[in-house]
Structures are given as structure tokens and as C-alpha cells.
Symmetry: none
DNA sequence: TAACTTTGACTTTCTTTGACAATTAGATTA
DNA sequence: TAATCTAATTGTCAAAGAAAGTCAAAGTTA
């Protein structure tokens, strides 16, 4: 008996394949197709389509709301950024972030300007409102999303 | 089933495009064209055509009353970003952020690419670990820092 | 037993609708 | 002429509706 997560994962991947790398999902509709509760879809998205796995997930609530899942292709050019995303893992301090970014700039993987921009988003100043015990995790999350955005243009 | 807001938003933008940057709207007439109640037009104007998004909305009630929507001609980047930072205030939802960024891209204050990058840093996904009651505040903080980084290049 | 999955009640966000208020131009009246 | 009425407009606000998100408890599996 195939697990529900796997079934749903496959359904979404198929949608992505059939649509040039982008799936547009109606959560409750997909849930009823898969015969499960809507929050199961959310679970699959967060465990199988994370930024570390190379996917960008966006959504909006309310009437006409929807979820889009974009697969990011890691072509050679972006190998470095992929490594970087791995290196970030699930937490980075401000200093580590800075070091990683400097390395990326030096190696030519990103421009100086992009490095500055990213740093401004993950600085302690920008994240001042985030409780310090989770700040490094939030920073990691943001940084991975930013890097994927750079890759996916 | 396109969202009504989007349909109306497009109608207004088309009017603006066709009239040298200024749309003159009769609210109830536009409402019946779009097959909705008049207050829907007001809603679209306030969520999609705010000053932070690069538009000036003026109106007059009474007989012969009307609404004019003017797209702000690009003055200078600095001014625009300042407006935007004001509009952000100390909290923004994901959708508001998106709308603001789209306005900035349209008016040429930031590039499409930068818009995408900023959005990726302030998306609900990126901020998923932040407790939801302060997420909008954290988003505002990050977004303002990013815009400041753009200003100070 | 520890990690992962499944479920569902509850929350948050965004949209749509409608009743009612405020404003204005122009017509009518005193 | 000045005051008043009337019809034509937009503005406001809260309730209802339509998604997706959260979280913790219960169930499964390795």
C-alpha cells in the first residue's frame, strides 16, 4: 500500500513535469483527488518540496487562493550555489552568512551587489524582531530562498 | 475563474495605458462592466493602486463625480523607495509586499529581478519559522532593510 | 521507541457583497 | 438671490465567503 505522501508527491511532480517546471495547485481540490484532508498537502509540500530540495513554493489565501510550486534547475553554472544551500543547512549565524557570501562573491558565483543585498536581508538588524533562539534558523531559511531566487531567473 | 480583483485591476491598468497614464473612472459604470458591486472597485483601488505602489488616486462624489487614477511618472528612485518604505510601515502581509513590489517594478524604481529577489526573502515560506503573530512585522523589517540596501548603492 | 504520517479543529488572510453615510451639481422654490 | 430639495456619485464598514496555514493529537512504521 503506497503511502499517501508518496502518492501526493508524485501527483505534484507530474503536474510540474507537465507544465514546464511549475505546478499550480488548488489545495482542497488536490486533497479531494488524493482522498485526504487538505493539510496533508501542506505536509507534503513542506517535507518534499523545500528550498533545500530545489523547489520554490508560493501561495496565497482567500478567494481564488492557490499554491504554486516551481522546480529550480541546477545547471552547472549554479553548482556553487547549490553547494552553498547545502552548506547553510538549517541554521546559520550572521557571521557564517557573511563568510559564505564573501566566498560566493570571490568565486564569482554571485555579484558583489547581490551579496550586499542578501546580507541586508539576513543581518541581525533585519532580523531583530526574531527571537534569538530561532534567528539562525530563520536566517538560513531566508538565505536559501534568496539563493534559489537568484538561480531561478 | 479569474479573480474579480485581478480582472478589475487589469481593466484599470488598461485604461491607464490607453490614456497617457491617467484613467478616469465612473465607479458604478465600471462596476457594472465588471459585474460586481461598486465597493469592489474601491477595494481594488485601495489594495492595488496605493501611493506606495506608484499611483495617485483622486475622487469626487456627487453628480458628475468620478475617480482618477494617475500612474506616477518615474521621478527618482530614491523618492519612490522612500514612499515604499513609508507604505510598509511596521507590518506587511505577504500579499501587500507583493503588490508593493509589483508597483515598484512597473514604475521602474526597481528591476524585475530585484523584485523577485526581495519577494523571495519575505515570502511566507522564507519566514515560516517566525511566529505568525510577528511575521508581518519581521517581514516589514527585512523588506525595509533590503530597500535601503538598494538605495545606498 | 523515535521518527514519520495522517487527521481535523481552529486560525489567518484575502475577497466579495450590501446596507448606509457623505458629498456634490443642478433644479426648484420662496 | 438664497435656500432647499433631488438625484447622482463616491466612501465606509462590517459581515459573509473562500481559500490556505497551524498545530497538536492519534496512528504507523522502521
Amino acid at each position: 500500500m503506497a503511502r499517501l505522501v508518496d502518492v501526493i508527491e508524485d501527483m505534484i511532480k507530474e503536474m510540474i513535469d507537465e507544465n514546464d517546471g511549475i505546478a499550480t495547485i488548488n489545495r482542497s481540490q488536490l486533497a479531494s483527488q488524493a482522498n485526504c484532508v487538505p493539510s496533508q498537502i501542506t505536509y507534503v509540500l513542506s517535507t518534499r518540496f523545500s528550498s533545500g530540495q530545489g523547489y520554490i513554493v508560493e501561495s496565497r489565501r482567500g478567494g481564488g487562493g492557490q499554491i504554486t510550486v516551481t522546480r529550480v534547475e541546477f545547471v552547472n553554472k549554479f553548482e556553487y550555489l547549490k553547494e552553498m544551500i547545502d552548506a547553510i543547512g538549517n541554521a546559520v549565524t550572521q557571521q557564517q552568512a557573511k563568510n559564505l557570501l564573501e566566498g560566493a562573491v570571490t568565486s564569482g558565483a554571485i555579484t558583489h551587489r547581490d551579496g550586499e543585498i542578501i546580507m541586508s536581508a539576513v543581518s541581525d538588524r533585519a532580523l531583530g524582531l526574531v527571537e534569538s533562539d530561532i534567528r539562525s534558523k530563520v536566517r538560513a531559511q531566508i538565505m536559501k530562498n534568496l539563493l534559489l531566487a537568484l538561480i531561478s531567473e
